[in-house]
Amino acid sequence: MEKIIFYILSAVILSLSLMSVLSRKLLRSAVYLFGVLTAIAGFYFLIGYHFLGAVQLTVYAGGIVVLIIFSILLTHDIDHQMPTPDWSRVAVAGALCVAGAVMFVQLLQGSLFSRVEAPEQSDLNTVGNTLLNPGGGGYLLPFEVVSILLLAVMIGAIVIAKQRHSVDDSSPEKQAP
């Protein structure tokens, strides 16, 4: 049973991601992406990581996709259709992708993956304890570093979006008609 669900989910993820990349309309890509992220949450539920699954659903499928869709709606041309790419480019890119996939499959067939013991229970208590544990096996330091990262990125975003009073522009592109 688990195997069947796994393969169904994989098929959904693969086809939807392909469609998301290949679609020539922005909004459709975003919707396909939503499907991919939801299906990935399915994986987490399948292996019993309920917390991670819920986070995936709320943060990625819920938050990020909504943000993406919002920003698409704010662009002035929603119906914009990407131009069809040259056949030569498609051929080169396709050949590279196939070559990469073949190499990967060959590598993975050797089944060089090592087995990792999963923690027995992954309830909220364990997750919270691991996340905020300063000792061995805990993730307090990365947690705090991520918060600095978010702060820095927010400052960066603000400074780019900030209104300017004086404009000193000497770039040639700007002056060209």
Partner: protein, 474 residues
């Protein structure tokens, strides 16, 4: 956990304190006093830098996620010196360009957050922290590259940088996941033990390497370098070319030489090829540049190739020669960028042709540029000569004579385009040379530190010995 243990993280905590103080200053100072943030920032960072050199300690924190020792301490202190010079040189620019737009403190905050990311990256005990540090050191720089966002080129630089960086970190993450899949651990110390040297690990390592190579701007990953350097503000280009590159070189050194002994055969071959490609392509493209920022960008690519020479030996001499070269390169390159920045800020000119006859009007600036370029080219008795000399010694002692020959040829090529600038400044006469440029006091201080570094490192032999001794254990 004992509170005293947090002293191990002194570098990071100090810098965090500096960041928080300047943030508060930004919030509480009224609009007119905002330009006071520049001296405040410089003073605070100067204290941080000076205090950073003291008391190197050794130990681990957070269950091995954070580790430090004498060598890591030295790396952080070197990065500190570089950042201090960069922000010193940026002081005048910040006052003139940023203060009227009320964007002074953000410039410092972004540079420091990026530096903090580098600290955590260099000190990382597992791949998760390496990746987080890499991200924290990269993302703020994208905002910095687009800092003059109303200039098209600057905005373009920012977009280009963030797209390439995003791709690079995705590839890095893929590599990390393959390494984890194969070994079942994130912890660097265990990673070395669990590795079997199979092809999955090799692929993971290559992917991981691609992300780091992007930051060092090694050749197949260098396409962003000239465009971003040209578009970004000069201080940011200087930061990218020295600090960003230095941190990436350090982490590569720690990972390759410290934790992945089984893959030695693989990466020696890969780096052998990349070093040749990077030096040659960087130099050949630099020959054709007329814009000084682009020229320095390609010269930075070529110098990255020289740095890779040090990786040919994973012994003590390889490590020491890399760190010593980084230190020398830091002073030389920052001096060159400082001169370009001064000229650009006051006259807006950045082509080689504009520098004709510079010596007649600006003798001191020309002299600084001369020293910087000679040091970059590796002319004795300046520091750059010894930096290259130790790298070449490493290659020779490892027995790669073909590589050595190519490196020497490349040095000669690089000498040609460095001398083109020198010829323009000293020998060419121009009907209307650039007017006398009076640099501000901060820039002058920055240039004086650089020149002192270039000259002193060439004379003082004790520095290399001290670094060599520290490199005994990584």
């Amino acid at each position: 956990m004992n509170w005293d243990d947090l002293l191990l993280m002194r570098h990071e905590l100090q810098l965090l304190a500096v960041i928080l103080i300047v943030t508060c200053a930004e919030i509480y100072l009224s609009g007119r006093d905002k330009s006071r943030i520049i001296p405040l920032s410089l003073a605070l960072f100067g204290i941080h830098m000076a205090a950073g050199w003291l008391w190197p300690v050794e130990g681990e924190l957070f269950g091995g996620m954070y580790r430090t020792n004498g060598l890591i301490h030295l790396m952080k202190s070197i990065l500190d010196v570089g950042v201090f010079i960069v922000i010193l040189q940026a002081g005048g620019w910040a006052r003139k360009q940023l203060a009227p737009e009320n964007r002074v403190s953000e410039f410092f905050l972004l540079i420091w957050s990026s530096l903090l990311g580098m600290y955590y990256m260099v000190s990382a005990g597992d791949l998760l922290m390496v990746f987080l540090g890499l991200e924290l050191s990269t993302l703020p720089v994208a905002a910095l590259a687009a800092y003059e966002v109303l200039k098209m080129r600057s905005a373009e630089a920012g977009i280009k940088f963030i797209l390439t960086a995003g791709l690079a970190s995705a590839v890095t993450l893929m590599g990390i996941s393959l390494l984890y899949g194969s070994t079942g651990t994130f912890v660097l110390a265990d990673l070395g033990k669990q590795m079997q040297g199979n092809s999955l690990e090799a692929l993971g390592f290559i992917f991981f390497f691609a992300g780091v190579a992007f930051k060092i701007s090694l050749v197949p990953f260098h396409f962003w370098t000239p465009d971003v350097y040209e578009g970004a503000p000069v201080s940011v280009a200087a930061y990218l070319s020295v600090i960003s590159k230095g941190a990436a070189v350090f982490i590569l050194m720690i990972l390759l030489m410290g934790f992945a002994p089984l893959l030695t055969d693989l990466w020696v071959n890969v780096l052998y090829l990349l070093a040749i490609l990077t030096m040659t392509i960087g130099n050949l493209f630099a020959l054709r540049q007329r814009n000084l920022k682009r020229l320095l960008a390609y010269s930075a690519v070529a110098q990255a190739g020289f740095i890779m020479l040090g990786f040919m030996s994973s012994q003590q001499d390889g490590k020491a020669s890399i760190i010593y070269f980084m230190l020398v390169y830091l002073f030389s390159n920052l001096a060159a960028f400082g001169v370009v920045q001064t000229i650009e800020m006051h006259t807006g000119k950045e082509d080689i042709g504009d520098y004709e006859g510079l010596y007649r009007t600006n003798p001191r600036l020309s002299l600084v540029m001369l020293l910087a370029l000679f040091s970059l080219a590796g002319i004795p008795p300046l520091a750059g000569f010894f930096g290259k000399f130790f790298l070449f010694m490493t290659v020779a002692s490892a027995g790669y004579y073909l590589l050595l020959t190519i490196a020497v040829i490349n040095t000669v090529i690089s000498l040609y385009y460095y001398l083109l600038i020198v010829r323009a400044m000293f020998l060419r006469k121009s009907d209307n040379p650039l007017p006398l440029v009076t640099s501000d006091g901060w820039m002058r201080a920055g240039l004086v530190i650089c020149v002192a570094g270039i000259v002193a490192l060439g004379v003082a032999s004790g520095v290399y010995d001290a670094i060599y001794a520290l490199c005994a254990h990584l």
